[in-house]
Symmetry: C2
Subunit: 451 residues, 2 copies
């Protein structure tokens, strides 16, 4: 995309702006609170790792409509009856609201608010699309990465999926989220530069094929990269390539297996490397890997030291979308707070601003979460949602990505094992507080009866 | 992402640049040809619609390494032994190669080259990651859109998936690809502005909920948008909302059903609207729709005029990645052409620059495709791969998006019905020419024997 496009205020749905115009023209002056959450987790997900908040807040801090964007809106027939004042309003538009959110790296579950916006209605509304795509995408990838990292039992995982990500930006954001979820690094250079994520790379089959002879290709690569090099050994014949390495007295940091029977090949390769005096040369495996394949390889004793995971991770291939929603929960005017809830078929949402309270067992593992009214205080529980932005400005610097990764690893270990397991995880107990349920009933009575 | 990030030359994998350094330091001067193709189609895909070429060519025309990007590379320990000359080379780097490609909107199948790059090796190598993520993502979404459009049998499909796309850019690119595949428009404003795609929108439940009374909310919306308005009727009670519309004498362009039993509700709504004198008010349905749900609704007689399709389309949810690869096929030096092929386990690739020849039945439908050497000429067949860039510059202007959409619709109709059907499509016949298979055998003999 062009440089202008990737920061455009038009990275939103048309209806956000038509509603904005309708609010403006109707003089709607209430502040609105919206909560962003994932309705329910995909079948194979026992938990999510919150991610993407830094990009969400960066967006809110920088959001403004440029002249050409406003001109585009004006040119749309749908805005024919909207007065100039609305477009003047857009010119001066800035996000001035308050944001509460769950810190990145925190495990969360279905129904739990990841983020809450309280702002004048128009501001709170037009940011919906960007916030949803940013938070749910990164949380989805961080969660997938956490599963992969957990399957690898401490072995190194490198995110390799940029080429299969949903466009170039998705590759960079996936690398960030995968790092949060537990990857040691990424192959994506822009993610390395922009976010300070460690970058890793090996060489491609094309490099080996570019020279008439595999041995010649290896030698030329080693000449330039004498240290920490990873040699790709499966272009022609994996074991023959390993013989060449031993014969030449090379000491690559690792050999990479990218095709074939990774279990059998890794065992053969390990044995031959050890026998050939290359005990320090590690085995790096890649090729259509995911958490299930890694768990199986390790269960069968594959002597793999690190894994490159691409497509499955950068697209969360088995669950490539989360049911993220952004719902109006209250309106605030001089007359006070008016609660809002949605009662559409199968899509009930709870009213009011909420807090998520997490209870722990004495050993530190999570016991249960209770979603409560913000005003409640549940003794002995840890509140997860915290204020991160006031008057459109962050109230503190973003944590370092490495700290977020640490948090994700430490907190993920506290999820009950049955809820964290890879296949058919149990549902972690999340309930709504008595007061919140009473509020829902009251709002239901008031709103539906009125219609 | 920042404006700099979205045009960065670092939107690539580290190994592309380490290989570039190794080629540079070794004085590798051959021109390389790489072909980009999808190895095999996902189970539920009978065909793909080529898309994303315009963004790929725009990238190639504009690619350059900025000072800060080069400084980042230099700072990486892996480049410790690389001489200054390489970084000087990167400063002056531009893509100067030749590109051949299948025009956007063309149906293609597994193994068929979508694009071929012929350029000095380093240039051809470093663009791999961006080209793959751009072409395979958009082709995947265009293909999904074509399936949805085909299921809708001429009814209108609007792409609504930005909020569930893999980040903000993915939402814009998905809107473009979905338009190519057959959507009438998108909700994404940036896609509207940047690509000229028609934009559509309705209103959200939050708007209805922002007012104490649904009728009041409708009236306020209609006041500002008296024409072509779509009223969302399922916030509280769908049929009660329709009664309010009739009672007030409003004539919305459409009512939108977003939850509940869409089959039953669309029939009830249609009948009540007709009885109430609103025959011209259309029914717009949305809510977790995909090609299968739409086909089923229409098979059961749901009187729906248009569909909003979001998550399933913008993420190609049932098949969220394609097995796109970018493979070295030959090297060209003063001594002539040297063919390259890959013989790794289960990952054989054919050598040499190729052409895809499409044969048609007398009625215009596709009969079979033959992948042949570029130098072959197959009588009576249509060659699909054409030259689009020389010396790093496009040789003609990109077609209008509308023309690409027309091509996709017209050409898609020519796919044999068994291969185009939604479920368990038959494999379309794609074979390799005799000469290409002979070349593969010759290269195999030469390359593998040599190792």
């Amino acid at each position: 995309m062009s440089e202008r496009s990737c920061r455009s205020a038009l990275l939103t749905d048309l209806y956000e702006v038509t509603m904005a115009a309708a609010y403006f023209e109707n003089g709607f002056s209430d502040k609105a609170s919206f909560e962003l959450f994932v309705r329910s987790l995909p079948k194979e997900r026992g938990y999510l790792i919150a991610a993407g908040l830094d990009q969400a807040l960066e967006y809110l801090e920088n959001l403004q409509f440029r002249e050409d964007e406003i001109a585009y809106l004006r040119s749309q027939p749908v805005f024919r009856n909207v007065r100039d004042e609305f477009f003047e309003y857009l010119k001066a538009f800035r996000f001035t609201g308050e944001v509460w959110a769950v810190p990145e790296g925190t495990p969360v579950f279905g129904e739990e608010p990841l983020l809450r916006v309280t702002a004048p209605m128009i501001e709170a509304q037009v940011v919906e699309t960007f916030l949803l795509s940013t938070l749910t995408f990164q949380s989805m990838i961080a969660s997938k990465a956490a599963r992969v990292a957990s399957a690898a039992q401490g072995r190194t995982i490198i995110e390799f999926g940029s080429r299969r990500a949903h466009g170039p930006e998705a590759g960079v954001l996936a690398a960030r989220a995968a790092y949060i979820g537990g990857c040691v690094g990424t192959s994506n250079l822009e993610a390395g530069k922009h976010f300070g994520i460690p970058v890793f790379g090996t060489l491609a089959h094309s490099f080996v094929m570019a020279y008439d002879d595999e041995e010649d290709a290896f030698q030329r690569f080693i000449n330039i990269f004498p240290e920490r090099n990873v040699l790709l050994v499966d272009t022609y014949d994996t074991m023959a390539a390993i013989e060449k390495i031993i014969r030449n007295g090379w000491h690559p940091a690792a050999v990479r297996l990218d095709s074939g029977n990774l279990l059998a090949l890794s065992k053969l390769a390990r044995k031959r490397l050890d026998d050939g005096g290359l005990r320090k040369t590690e085995i790096f495996a890649s090729g259509d890997l995911d958490e299930f394949a890694i768990a199986e390889l390790l269960a069968k004793g594959a002597p793999v030291d690190s894994f490159g995971v691409g497509t499955a991770l950068a697209t969360s291939k088995d669950a490539p979308a989360l049911s993220g929603v952004y719902k109006l929960v209250d309106l605030e005017s001089e007359a006070g707070i008016s609660y809002r809830a949605k009662f559409s078929h199968e899509k009930v949402t709870y009213p009011g601003r909420k807090q998520v309270y997490r209870f722990h067992h004495p050993d530190g593992t999570f016991r249960e979460d209770v979603i409560a009214c913000e005003s409640e205080s549940l003794e002995g529980a840890q509140p997860l949602v915290e204020c991160v932005m006031k008057n459109g400005k962050r109230i503190k610097a973003a944590p370092k990505l490495r700290e977020i990764q640490d948090r994700a690893r430490e907190e993920r270990m506290k999820i009950p094992a049955d809820c964290a397991r890879l296949r058919e995880p149990q549902k972690y107990p999340v309930t709504f507080s008595d007061r919140l349920r009473a509020l829902l009933r009251a709002v239901h009575k008031e709103m539906v009866v009125k219609q």
